[in-house]
Every structure is written in C-alpha cells, then in structure tokens.
Symmetry: C2
Subunit: 372 residues, 2 copies
C-alpha cells in the first residue's frame, strides 16, 4: 500500500489524533496509530479505549490494507519532514520519505487491535440507530458552558460526566458535582428522546476536536453505550466514537430554585473582576467571599490569614436586601460563560442562587451559598 | 510611610521579583517582599537566599521605614488593581487601595530578614571592591550561549555553575559537565583578573532579569563570595547580588583539541534539521546518531526500537573522510547558539570535536563522540 499527500495536510491532521492516542497503555497496541486507505483517501485512526477517532484525508493511494505504526516517532517525523510531499509505503515496514530524508518504521499487525465503529455521516446505521445533526458551534457551546461543574470525585461517579438530553424540546447539556449545577440548552427540536452521559474527560476531547475542525454541521449519533460524531472539517473528515457512562443523573430539576426574594442585575465583567480581587485574601480552604446586597450596591469582602479586602460594585436590585457568602471559585466559574448583563437570583441566604444571562441564552447555573 | 505610583509601573516591575521570591522557604521571611522608600523612590526587594534582588521605582513618597509584605497575595492584588494609581500606606498593616478597591494586608517585622548588600552603580564600594561595566546584551549572550553545558549532577559540584573569567584579555563564560564544554568570549579588556563560578540556576535568574530590562550598560561587581549587578532599565533601577560557588573549574584548556585531521564547513540550519529528524529514531538511552563524512556529504543515520532513519546533507570538507557517532542531543545543543555557517573540527573518530562559527564570534563548544 502506497500513499502520497501534502506534508502540511498530514502534519496538521495528525495533531487531532495525537492527544487521543496514549503514550502508555495497558494495551500497548493503543499506543499505535492506525493507517489504512479508502478511495483517494488516507484513513488515520486511534483510540485510548474511551474515545475512538478517525480522520480521512484526500491522498493519492495504491493498494490496500490496514497497518499500525508506533505513533510517537511517526508523529514527530511527519512534523519535521523536509519536503512538501510525504510518501508512505507500507508493507512489512513503513517507509516514509520526503526530500532527502528516508526512514523505515517497524509496523505492528492489526491483530488484537479493538474494532472501531463510527457513525455514517449520511444518516443512522446499524451501530448508531439514532442520529441528529446540528451546527458544530452549538454543540461546542453546550459542552464548554457546563463542563466546569462536573465532579472530580469518585463519590457518585455519574457526576463525573456531562449529561446530554435529546428531546423534541431541544438538546440540553447538564453537569453537576452535587454542590452546584450548570445547564445549557439549544431550543432546536431533536429527532429522538434520549439521555446520554459522556465522561467529562471524553467531553474535553470532543471539544478539542470540534475546535480544531472549525465551523460546519456535526452529526451526533447514539448507539448502544456509545455517542458517535461525524463532521467534515477543512481538508479532512472526522469521525469519533465516545464510550458513555452507565446510568443517568438523579432528578436535578428540583434543586433549581423558582422563587426569589431578591433579584440582582449586574454587569458581569466589573463584578467578576471585583470578586477576583477580593477573593485573593479569602480563606484558602473554602474561598469564602461575603456579599451584602443593599441600596443598589454589592459590598464584597473577604478575610484570610494575610488580611482583608473589600470592594463595592453598583448593581440593580429588586426585592429584599440580603447578605450571603459564597465559595468565590464556584461563583466565578458560574459567571465564566457569561458576558454583558446577568442576573443573580437569590432564593434565600443559605438556599440555592440561580445565575443566568439577562437576555436570551440557554445557560443557567445553580450555586449553593456557604452557611454563614 | 505612604507611596503613590502608577499601577502599571508597579505591576510590571514586581514581575522581576516574583520569580526570585520563593513561595516556600525554610526561612518563612524569605517568602515576603520588602518595601522601603528612598528619595522619590519606592524600593522593592526580595531574596531566595542565593539571589538577592532590589528594584527601585519613581514614586511619590512620604515618611520612611522598611516593611515585609506577604508576597503572593501582594503581587496578585497589585496586578488586578482596578484604578490607574496604586496607593500604599504602611504602618501596622499595608493598606493598598486603587479605585473602589481597598485591602489591608498584614506585615511582618524586618527583624530576622537577612541584610542585603548590593553594588553601587557609580563604582566600586566596600562590599564590592572590583567592578566592571559592559553592555547588558553582551553579558546576556555569554551566559545564554554556555548555560546548556552546565551539569545537573551532584558529582563534581563545581560543574553545576557557569564560570566567569575576568581578565585584561576580556571576559569569558565557561560551562561543562565533564563530557562536553561550551565557552563564549568577549574581547573587551576587563579592569581586573578574577574567576567567579555562578550557580547555573542563579545564572538563569540573571538572564531573566537582563532580558526584562532591555538594552543598556550593566555594572558587574565582585565582593567576597558574591557577584553583584546594577542596571538602569526602562522605568526602574535594578540591583542584584548572587552568591558564588566556592572554588573554580579544573584546567579545561587541555581538553580543547588543537589538531584536526578533518574540518567540515556546513550550513547550520539544514544540518540541524536533518540531525533532529534522524535522531527521532535513535536509541532512547544514548541518542546515538552516526555521521559519515565523505565526498562532500554528511550521511546521518540512526537506528532504534522502532526502525531506522537516514538523511544526506551537503557539506564542505577539508581533510580525511571520517565516520563518528554522537549523542544527538549534545551535538544539537552545541549547535544551538549558532546560525549561518559553522565548522565542525574533528580531532579523530573518538576524540573531542570542536564546534565553532565559521566567522567571528567568541563561541566554541567541545563534544566528545560516542565510542563506536
């Protein structure tokens, strides 16, 4: 099997695979990158056991076959090739040449490598019977807006994932660690109703790949225990399969407060900056910052081992003046996806606060205040 | 004591101190930053026990005194101040205010803090009786060109430093780990003859500070066990004192080869790129790359667990064809300070090779080939 393609195209696209393929693994074959050919196409693939990724590049090809090549030296060599074109000849070894440089890399047989199943961009398939299509930018936004709220703890493992909820009402992403919650919604009706929990780390890989591919439509598919993605990016086609977590989130709707004795409208940027400054001196364990809302001002204050800091920010208030304390990190993270104007809606000094944009936008976050 | 100065000036200049002041230390006072005043000057100082640094900034001042402030929250707060001006009021606490933000930081007494001695920019002083002046860029070049060759091993501790040699013939910096050597020379006559070994890590701090200060003249001074530096940078004056290592390098001149059966002239950039590519497949322990010089070509080849690579580079040769093997990392590091055209001068297949620029330039490196 022989392949010829522009060196730069190959070098750019292997970057997508590079983070997925592990440098060490209990299955050493997973440290290899796969090379195969289709009609005028070089197919690169790899997996870390949780995320499978395939990238298809236009190339001149001859012959057929599928081979495994040691990924680290292969990636390093491809990036440093001196010529404009990369020539790959695979038989018992991979001969990679470009300009005056030639190298021979040993290959491993495909035997023992897991079978990778990907969705078909065209529509549902046997392996992925449910399929929806949406703009890649929307999926990217849903995932990045809620990712921070996912748990890192072993306790209640389901919270280490991001739940995607497909329904005729739209697509929603939710994450929570039991102390706070973030959700982001897209109103576009989905062709099926299903919940799927993606491990947060795998969600990070999806985000990374979507960012690299730029704008376009992404096909989002569900098969048994698997979320599939397919997308045509600039110069390459990408397909991905992500192992889902078992189970789903407990009913979180009930922790989202509905009645608010105090509603505060504020400019996100100056409020966030003030919160950041004041929090520098907060207690290092609980990052406690006190907020007193009264007479159209928020008075932020914190005190820790090194001293105390305070600052005032003008806000618009509706309701009863109130004093609360938050873990500053949690509140900063809840505000991070927002810009312009936002609402903090307080259900009480020790009961959950809702954070949301003042205008449209499907983002909402719930933060529980610290006990005073 | 009260101080007022532009926030941006303060924020920029504390960056110099920030890396020197440790976040943890067996003497907790070293984690503090010092604040004092001079005539229309705010003096900031800090030390990690090996490197002392003082920065003087123009400021409006009232009163006098010297105080220690917890450096991490102080630096973080200064960077995030909302206003254009920073106001510092120091008495029992530091009150730092800017715009609507006010904070109070606890202070520590100066008692127990080491006395810091710096050279005087004007000329020799009691603490630093020997003093020379040179362009900061020249000192920067000497240190950065040889730094890589310093040892990381405990064995023969003196090689963990960079030796500065002041003499009427010029100023030389040398580093070696016993297997290779780098030296860089400035022909400008120095007003005294003395050798001083600067710990490599402290040399890194000197490099960092010189880079931040930009162009100008630096005063380089020697006192008992100490190298002093003083320089006026953009907007600030800097003084530094670096603890020296005891002793000096053994006579290294004798390992620098003088007779060369083969001299190779090459273009650094393409040779280096080829060497980098070929070395990808080299043995992971010794990074061995074989070089065969014959008929106006260098044939580079390497072989490791994953396969083998080779490449040819055109060179100009004078002398006997020769085959040698090097640790590719050592050869790449020896070539790193060079650009354009360079000489590799071989004293034999298993005896030291001299690397130097083909034109002027005080840089030379010695690399010992691997035994074939």
């Amino acid at each position: 099997m022989k392949v010829a393609l522009p060196k730069n195209l190959l070098a750019e696209q292997i970057a997508l695979l590079e983070r997925v393929i592990p440098s060490r693994s209990s299955n050493p074959l997973l440290t290899y990158a796969g090379l195969a050919v289709g009609p005028e196409t070089l197919v690169l693939f790899g997996s870390n056991g949780e995320v499978d990724l395939e990238v298809r590049l236009p190339a001149q090809v001859q012959g057929e076959g599928a081979y495994l090549v040691p990924s680290q030296p292969f990636f390093q060599l491809v990036r440093s090739l001196p010529g404009e074109e990369a020539l790959l000849s695979l038989e018992r070894e991979l001969e990679l040449s470009s300009g005056r440089f030639t190298t021979r890399l040993s290959l491993a047989p495909m035997e023992g490598y897991p079978e990778l199943l990907f969705p078909e961009p065209g529509g549902p398939s046997e392996a992925f019977p449910l399929q929806a299509t949406l703009p890649a930018g929307d999926l990217l936004r849903l995932l990045t807006q809620v990712r921070y709220a996912a748990s890192n703890e072993e306790y209640r493992a389901i919270f280490r994932g991001v739940q995607l909820e497909f329904s005729p009402g739209g697509l929603r992403a939710v994450a929570s660690d039991g102390y706070r919650l973030a959700l982001s919604e897209l109103p576009t009706p989905q062709p099926f109703a299903k919940k799927a929990v993606v491990p947060a780390r795998s969600a990070d890989e999806v985000v990374r790949v979507l960012k690299a591919l730029g704008e376009g439509e992404v096909a989002l598919a569900l098969g048994p225990g698997t979320l599939g993605l397919a997308m045509r990016g600039e110069g390459a086609e990408m397909r991905m399969a992500v192992r889902l977590m078992e189970g789903e989130f407990p009913d979180y709707e009930k922790v989202i407060p509905k009645d608010f004795p105090l509603r505060v409208r504020l400019q996100v940027e100056p409020f966030r900056e003030a919160l950041r400054r004041v929090s520098v001196l907060s207690d290092r364990q609980n990052h406690r910052v006190d907020l007193l809302f009264q007479e159209g001002r928020a008075l932020l204050s914190a005190e820790g081992d090194y001293g105390k800091g305070q600052e005032e920010v003008a806000v618009a208030m509706e309701g009863t003046p109130m004093g609360l304390a938050y873990n500053a990190r949690y509140l900063l993270e809840a505000l991070a996806p927002l810009e312009g104007e936002a609402f903090l809606e307080m259900s009480g000094p020790t009961s959950p606060t809702l954070v949301r944009p003042s205008g449209e936008g499907g983002y909402r976050a719930v933060v529980v205040p610290l006990r005073v």
